[in-house]
Amino acid sequence: MNVVPQQLTAKDFATDQEVRWCPGCGDYAILKALQRTMPEIGATPEKTVFVSGIGCAARFPYYMETYGFHTIHGRAPAFATGIKLSNPELDVWVVGGDGDMLSIGGNHLMHTLRRNVDLQILIFNNEIYGLTKGQYSPTSRVGTRSPSTPQGSVEAPVSAALFALGSGARFVARSVDTDLKHLPIMFKRAHEHRGASLLEIFQNCIVYNDGVFDSFKAPSVASERQVRVEHGKPMIFGAEKNRGLRMRAGVFEIEAVTVGEDGVTVDDILVHDETNRVMANLLASMDSDQLPVALGVLYCNPAPTYEASVLDQAADVRAKSPNADLNKLLRSGYTWTV
């Protein structure tokens, strides 16, 4: 419980419950980053709701001193939709793992995105089922050995960002668990965005999938293997900030180039346009060795939110039938008196 003080701090968003993740789990960093961000975005505990499904990630609400609903596996977006339709004033966050949101819950995610319900949807993607002890998930790479795939998985994984874009999402962003600078920025952007904001966070499961993102997360390679995209800015990366993304002439493709080599200048570097869905698609699909992993807001292109449209329509109807009287309703149509 919490009586709102004048100036909130991260502590005001922390519950007295013991955090139950494994020591070293990436979820801790995300929790910390979000608890810190909450006061900065002017969140108030009583108006904030965290909704989650089931999984390690989905334990998140227990640790946020706000309203929270730890529901059932895969359905958090549907609960959140009901909450927003009932009280659009609430600031609703949805948290789930890759299994929760993309395996059993993929359909609800798709429909929530396309409806554009005003939610912040955070996927903690560790490419594994943590809570059920390490089976491969729909985001696991081909060849993932797990208790249910002892010889390695054979399925092509789904990309959260591409899936969201294909589903009609209006906001798609990415970050990493341990980046306590970038992550809050993404939280803020997601929060600012009116409508469904999807934020995928690459999260390390130290127990069942340790280091799965090292190829681009490890400090030694991060600057070469990550590109942080920002709207209106050229997409530059590399330790020396001399690498960049360029549109390959005449085809719908992106390539990585080095400024100063082969006549490449800064002007050749593609400027990020977060309102361009095709560009977002290209950025989201950079998963080869030749291209860095794109982090940041890949796509942001607002549209009316679902609950606002629903409310508007209801207001219209009310305006047209101002004296809604239940006795009248029961007597609508033919009646007769005996």
Binding site: K47, Y67, F69, S321, T337
Partner: protein, 622 residues
């Protein structure tokens, strides 16, 4: 325009009937449901009591002329209390051979059959599965057959309208309706008004349909001279005075929910996914936005129930509805509502199964699913509506129980109730007692699973309330703090408490009354849901012969009324007619160890009075 019925009334001496069963049957595209609906209105306006039974195929518009494409509407109306849509048909209107084929078996010997001979082509006769033309062989010898070329006469009647042949023939049903109006001296005016309104933007269609209606009526007047078309009078029933309307189960249920929510001081968030025969509730509520109703057509039944639970968490009244297969999908989420002790209303419009089954046919086979159909010890409240109008009262009651006890409640109705209509003495909403919900706001001493000592309901604190921030979920909660707890004794205590809460509701519902007969005797016929009508009539029939048979009808299926055990114990035999293989029987036997016997019918069709009567007689040795 003056009343068109009055004239006929004066001119014709009519055979008086206490009650009559009429069935309109034709192709799916023949508009039989509309015809039946209009006739129902006319009977109601004439002061008859009535009950209806719309019966239609799962296909939207099955190929014309096939037996599986036959759509029917049956109405039983009379000058006495009408409890069922009728066992046997007095007047069958068969728009084509297939309709005749399907319905013939239900026409009483000597009954009237009106056929459109224009549709009895060789091809159609064969398509319907007749070896030869039934109009020409002995098939119809036992009936009074009125052969009319309705098709031709309709074409003739609407000639002036300039409609094409296809559209012109669409008016056949109105022609027939006009004729039947004539037979029973019914007022055409409301139908004329309705047509004018319905086709306001296509006045050609309105004119044509009205012309057909009038032509059918006129045909009756003329033919009657020659004695070809029998005419009847059916007096007004003696019914309680007041303002009436016809109401379908779907309407009464939707309105009951809205009134209930109003009495609770809550707004409705209705999350649903279309399915036959549950969809009408969604359709009706979608038109009630001005009453604070939000409807949400979800992507599936799971999302629907989850959105409703989310809504209840947020302080709305979360409601969801579906039919058997969809309810099955909601089971897991209902468990969460039980575990988090949130109010939730789940309406189940039962249909014939298993699986897809016969989607448009009725059945009562989801009682097991309602009472027992979830993982773990997960008790909830179950009620059942007995008739279209009863849906209103039960709907108000489920809102009261769900909110007072912070619990999911399942309301069982069925395809028959959902679609059938009956006259309804419209209640005054102000007479319904309010039962306002109080959200928790007091910060001191709050925890989410703090309970009311008497009801055992937990307090309801909704997001937006300062100082009551809390987290709930499906993991077991500590009795004393509401935090998650894996403690063994606590789980036992919470399980016991959840059960005690539901069991305790037995003290907040009426004792079980006896509908008809004494509180002890030879046979108690125990029913629930839509079997009410046929049981009632069957019991009154055998009682009329002096047998000690009583009718007990349950509204509360779980928990059961507190006196039910002793009540049943005072009968020698307990007989339970159900449209399933014996589900309530299981519950009664298990609860009370009474040797209740089932009378089971699982054909997708409602019980006939005679079927129940004969089951009673078999036990009476009568």
């Amino acid at each position: 325009m003056a009343s068109t019925a009055a004239v006929a009334e004066i001119r014709t001496p009519r055979e008086a009937r206490e009650s009559v069963v009429v069935r309109f049957a034709g192709d799916s595209g023949d508009g039989m449901q509309l015809t039946g609906g209009q006739f129902t209105q006319a009977a109601a306006l004439a002061g008859n009591d009535l009950a209806t039974f719309p019966d239609f195929p799962a296909e939207i518009r099955a190929p014309t002329g096939t037996t599986f494409g036959v759509s029917s509407f049956q109405i039983n109306f009379g000058g006495r209390r009408i409890k069922t849509s009728g066992d046997a048909i007095d007047v069958l209107v068969a728009m084509n051979p297939a309709a005749l084929k399907v319905e013939l078996g239900n026409v009483r010997d000597g009954g009237v059959i009106i056929v459109d001979v224009g549709s009895f082509s060789d091809r159609n006769v064969k398509r319907a599965g007749f070896a030869s033309n039934p109009l020409e062989d002995k098939t119809l010898n036992a009936y009074r057959v009125i052969e009319i070329d309705v098709s031709a006469l309709t074409m003739e009647a609407v000639k002036e309208s300039g409609l094409g042949k296809k559209d012109a023939l669409r008016c056949k049903n109105l022609w027939t309706l006009g004729l039947v109006y004539w037979m029973y001296a019914r007022d055409r005016q409301p139908t004329v008004d309705w047509l004018n309104k319905k086709f306001a933007k296509q006045s050609g269609l309105a004119t044509a349909n009205i012309a057909a209606l009038n032509a059918g009526h006129a045909f009756g007047e003329t033919a009657e001279m020659e004695g070809d078309v029998p005419t009847y009078s059916v007096a007004a029933a003696k019914i309680e005075p007041g303002e009436y309307r016809t109401v379908s189960g779907g309407e009464a249920l939707a309105w009951g929910l809205v009134v209930g929510a109003h009495k609770a001081g809550l707004k409705i968030m209705f999350g649903s996914y279309p399915i036959t025969p549950a969809s009408p509730i969604l359709h009706i509520l979608a038109r009630l936005k001005q009453y604070g109703v939000v409807t949400f057509q979800a992507e599936d039944e799971i999302a629907a129930v989850c959105s409703a639970i989310g809504a209840s968490f947020a302080g709305h009244l979360g409601i969801t509805s579906s039919s058997g297969p969809g309810i099955a999908l909601k089971g897991e989420a209902i468990g969460l509502a039980i575990s988090t002790e949130l109010p939730l209303i789940v309406v189940n419009s039962q249909r014939a199964g298993p699986s897809t089954g016969l989607p448009t046919k009725t059945e009562q086979s989801d009682l097991y699913q309602a009472v027992y159909g979830r993982n773990a010890d997960a008790p909830l409240v179950v009620l059942a509506s007995r008739s279209p109008s009863d849906c209103f009262e039960t709907a108000v009651e489920v809102v009261r129980l769900a909110t007072k006890y912070m619990t999911p409640v399942m309301l069982l109705t069925d395809g028959y109730i959902a679609n059938a209509a009956e006259p309804w003495l419209i209640p005054d909403v102000d007479d319904v007692a309010p039962f306002g919900v109080k959200f928790r706001t007091e910060v001191e001493g709050f925890h989410p699973f703090h309970r009311d000592e008497k009801t055992l309901a937990r307090n309801w604190a909704i997001p937006g309330t300062p100082g009551l921030e809390h987290r709930i979920g499906g993991i077991e909660k500590d009795y004393d703090s509401g935090h998650i707890s894996y403690d063994a004794t606590n789980h036992q205590r919470m399980t016991d408490t959840r059960k005690a809460k539901i069991d305790g509701i037995a003290n907040d519902i009426p004792e079980q009354a006896v509908e008809q007969g004494e509180t002890s005797g030879d046979i108690a016929v125990v029913g629930w849901g839509s079997t009410y009508g046929p049981i009632d009539r069957a019991v009154s029939n055998v009682r009329a012969e002096g047998h000690a048979v009583s009718h007990i009808h349950l509204r509360h299926i779980w928990p059961l009324p507190r006196n039910l055990g002793s009540l049943l114990a005072s009968f020698k035999t307990v007989l339970v007619p159900e449209m399933n293989t014996g589900q309530l029987v299981t519950v009664l036997r298990a609860e009370y160890l009474v040797p209740a016997e089932k009378v089971s019918k699982v054909s997708g069709q409602p019980f006939k009075i005679a079927e129940i009567e004969s089951a009673i007689r078999a036990r009476l040795g009568a």
